[in-house]
């Protein structure tokens, strides 16, 4: 068995190249670089590209939201107008008289009416007039 010591005995790999390889290689690579210069694709800066895309997407989303909100609010007001118009068209002359009567009675009640009622008076009134059975059901 041999006793190898790599520090004492240097083993060099005997890699060889074809003759004139390095001289030809320089020419070959310079030609490749020339063609590289001509056909070098212009790459987009990815970060910049990503930023532009994100901004465009955000603007588009906001624009779509605004359009949607505007449309739905117009729709709501239209619907309210239509309902009012419908009710007016459907109400008869008799209905109008009833509504006028209610309105006149309502306006006849003084708004600043101060009712000084106490619990005992309310109870007394309830005992006399209310149908307690109805409330107790």
């Amino acid at each position: 068995m041999q006793n190898f010591n790599l520090k004492e005995k240097k083993i060099k790999p005997s890699f060889q190249t074809p003759s004139q390889y390095f001289e030809d290689f320089e020419k070959k690579i310079m030609l490749k670089i020339e063609s590289e210069k001509i056909s070098k694709p212009k790459l987009l800066n990815f970060t910049k590209f990503q930023y532009s895309i994100s901004t465009a997407a955000a603007v588009l989303i906001v624009a779509l939201l605004l359009v949607y909100m505007n449309e739905s609010s117009t729709k709501k007001s239209l619907e309210a107008d239509l309902i009012e118009e419908y009710l007016l068209s459907q109400s008869s002359e008799e209905d109008s008289l009833i509504w006028d009567e209610i309105a006149s009675q309502t306006s006849a009640i003084p708004m600043d009416l101060n009712l000084n009622l106490n619990i005992q008076e309310i109870e007394l009134y309830m005992n006399k007039n209310a149908d307690l059975e109805y409330f107790l059901e």
Partner: protein
């Protein structure tokens, strides 16, 4: 980065001086880069492909090079990544593990017209292939190319202490392999 290298990098980035500067870069670095890649992929034709890819990338990305490391270290890093990616792709294409693919490449060395090694050199390649990937790289760059630990540290992004320990372990494992096979 020293002033001379800063000027050279500026020339590589300037379209007016770029071509001449790149020719100079090739004259300075094509050989060491070739042998670095060859020590990883082993075969001449594959090395030629990887070296071309490496230098095209150096040309393409020189504008992004910030000078945080030496130009030489930056190019070695590209070459190392390219070589390892190449091996992984080849292994995948031939439906083999990377270890099996490298083993096959080593067994092909004996019939390779561009390999003039004897039995002990092939045995050394087998011993290196038995190491973990990073230890292989450290050993090859230190033993075959005599790179300094500081340079290795920049290329492999590993501390000098860890590199020294790794190299020592790799050497011991290889000696044991050579002694027992």
């Amino acid at each position: 980065m020293n002033q001379e290298e800063a000027i050279f990098i500026a020339e590589l980035k300037n379209p007016k001086t770029q071509q001449e500067a790149f020719s100079k870069l090739l004259r300075l670095y094509q050989k060491p880069l070739y042998f670095h890649i060859r020590s990883i992929v082993l075969n001449h034709d594959d090395t030629d492909d990887v070296l071309q890819n490496t230098l095209i990338k150096v040309f393409r990305y020189i504008h992004d090079f910030k000078g945080e490391s030496k130009l030489f270290s930056w190019m070695y890093r590209i070459a190392t990544n390219e070589a390892i990616t190449f091996l992984k792709q080849k292994a995948k294409m031939s439906n083999q593990s990377i270890e099996a693919y490298i083993e096959k490449q080593i067994s092909n060395l004996a019939s390779d017209i561009y390999f003039d090694g004897d039995e002990i050199q092939i045995k050394l390649q087998k011993a290196i292939a038995s190491l973990p990937e990073k230890q292989q790289l450290i050993f090859k760059m230190k033993y075959f190319q005599d790179l300094k630990y500081e340079e290795l540290s920049e290329i492999l992004n590993t501390s000098v202490g860890a590199l020294k320990a790794s190299y020592h372990i790799a050497t011991k494992k290889i000696e044991a392999f050579l002694n027992h096979h």
